[in-house]
């Protein structure tokens, strides 16, 4: 279970990325997290894997209180909660097999277990025949599937996917979503950040809508219905973008 208890996140003391978020996601749930660019969706995911720490409030992932986590424990949380990144983050000098295997190697699994585990997930994401190829030889959709394979190979309890269908054609997006639903059926909690209204509307899953760092709706069979971006949203985005540049 994931629980946000009055969580706020500020960047640089002024830019409010998230504001007073209270939400609970039970085990095994499939959730869409939607909202305009800069609404705080990615920030929310980064808080769950403790890439960021909240400015206020508490986050719980099962028995872990994220803000109290010791530095030496962060990697344990990240084995429990795996993420599919927006920019996929693959190792371009390694084969597809090796990229996925890393997800199990970090768990110190035996070589034969890694071999079997990687073959199984590559079959699940239909990339078995691409195992010996390098990322540069794969299409965008295939790369996204490699990212998913690496995230699920260690059997995480929670899977976060940050815009896994971004830049993909509708058919490939459907395929990706089917894989994520398959993973969810196996008992993994799945949270998907997306801008893809078709897949949200079609699947009728729990949908949490964020805008300007606040939850504006949380529906059990939600739809992609957040209003077009307001003047306030745009100003908020500009502020956040400026802050990101300053950070860089």
């Amino acid at each position: 279970m994931i629980r946000f208890d009055h969580v706020s996140k500020k960047f640089g003391g002024s830019t409010q990325a998230l504001s007073d978020i209270t939400v609970e996601i039970p085990d095994g749930e499939f959730v869409f997290l939607i909202g305009p660019t800069g609404a705080g969706k990615s920030t929310l995911l980064k808080l769950i894997i403790r890439e960021l720490v909240p400015t206020e409030g508490s986050i719980y992932v099962d028995d872990w209180n994220i803000e109290n986590l010791q530095k030496q424990q962060i990697h344990l949380l990240r084995r429990y909660v795996r993420m599919v990144f927006q920019d996929i983050k693959l190792l371009y000098d390694r084969t597809i097999f090796e990229n996925v295997a890393v997800g199990m190697e970090v768990l110190n699994k035996k070589e034969q277990d890694i071999e079997k585990g990687v073959r199984d997930v590559l079959a699940l994401v239909e990339l078995r025949d691409k195992a010996d190829q390098f990322p540069a030889q794969l299409s965008a959709g295939e790369l996204q599937r490699v990212g998913i394979a690496r995230a699920i190979v260690g059997g995480p309890k929670i899977l976060l996917a940050d815009e896994p269908t971004g830049n993909l054609d509708p058919e490939t997006s459907e395929d990706i979503l089917e894989i994520l639903k398959e993973i969810n059926k196996l008992g993994t909690t799945v949270i998907v950040v997306t801008h893809n209204n078709t897949i949200v509307d079609k699947n009728k899953k729990r949908t949490i809508t964020l805008r300007s760092g606040k939850i504006i709706s949380d529906e059990m069979k939600g739809k992609y219905h957040f209003a077009k971006r307001t003047h306030h949203d745009k100003k908020h985005d500009e502020k956040e973008e400026k802050h990101t540049h300053e950070k860089d």
Binding site: E51, K71, H75, L76, L77, R78, V102, V106, R150, G154
Partner: protein
């Protein structure tokens, strides 16, 4: 990808940095190894002389057993002498022949007549030597008194000098090696920054990320130390006969160098390699760890 493959790939992809690291380690261990052997040999020589009679009385060419017996009785009467040993001219010739058996030219020119008889005297306490000296010098037929203490003091001064100069050089080279390893590993960390970030995000433990870099530093250390060991062994093999003829009377040197294929020589060489390799691994691994702590926050 197996860890060993990954480490080998790290080394292979930046061969010049790797070579610089190995060469620096090689120089450090070459000098360090030579320094260690020189110091050990000096201590062996020192111990050898310390175990010898504390003073030797040389008699004039005309003096012999009778003068030595008188002196022996006089010295024993003081109660400050633990033992005395008379070495006749013939005994001296025997010792000389044994020491120079490989050089017939030196043997041809020497007869017992030109060698002095001597009396080796061991005092019960080194402090008694000063009291015994005037008695010995006043005795009949005494030409010269040689104190082993003088030899030991000279050796000690040399040993200390070698220890200080060699120690400082080895320390400086050790620091240099550490800095080179830190720089090389630092460069590799910079090259792998993205990979490290990814590994952190997918749950790699800090040690999982550190391990390949630490092992890589260790490999540089072991390679450098191994190469230095080979060179030192070649140097010893080349100069073995000269060392044995010069220092062969010292038991440990005779034991280690008289037969290069004896099990004790092989065991000592293997032990020396183990010490150098282990030190190399620790030095290289330490350099990597310092660099990792400096450049990545885990």
């Amino acid at each position: 990808m197996k860890k060993t493959n990954s480490i080998w790939t790290h080394i292979r992809r930046s061969p010049y940095q790797s070579l610089a690291a190995v060469l620096t380690m090689f120089l450090t261990f070459l000098l360090g190894g030579i320094f260690l052997l020189t110091t050990s040999t000096s201590f062996a020589i020192l111990r050898f002389f310390e175990s010898k009679p504390q003073l030797t009385v040389f008699f004039t060419a005309k003096a012999g057993q009778a003068e030595a017996d008188v002196l022996k009785d006089t010295l024993n009467a003081t109660g400050k002498v633990s033992s005395t040993k008379y070495v006749s001219k013939e005994d001296a010739l025997g010792i000389y022949k044994e020491q120079n058996k490989n050089d017939p030219l030196l043997l041809e020119m020497v007869t017992a007549d030109i060698l002095p008889a001597s009396l080796e005297v061991t005092a019960k306490d080194p402090h008694y030597l000063a009291e015994l000296e005037p008695i010995i010098k006043g005795a009949n037929g005494v030409e010269e008194v040689v104190f082993q203490k003088d030899v030991v003091d000279t050796l000690l001064a040399w040993t200390n000098a070698v220890r200080i100069v060699g120690g400082i050089l080895a320390l400086l080279l050790g620091i240099d090696s550490l800095l080179i390893i830190m720089t090389v590993i630092g460069l590799k960390i910079a090259m792998k920054k993205e990979e490290i970030e990814i590994l952190k995000l997918i749950g790699a433990s800090p040690w999982y990320i550190r391990k390949p870099f630490v092992i890589e530093g260790g490999i540089y250390g072991v390679s450098g130390a191994g190469a230095a060991w080979v060179i030192i062994m070649i140097l010893i093999a080349v100069f073995r006969i000269q060392i044995v003829s010069f220092l062969g009377s010292i038991p440990i040197i005779h034991l280690l160098l008289s037969d290069p294929f004896s099990w004790i020589t092989i065991a000592a060489s293997a032990g020396f390699f183990s010490i150098m390799a282990l030190t190399g691994f620790i030095l290289g691994g330490l350099g990597s760890l310092v660099s990792l702590n400096r450049y990545i926050k885990l």
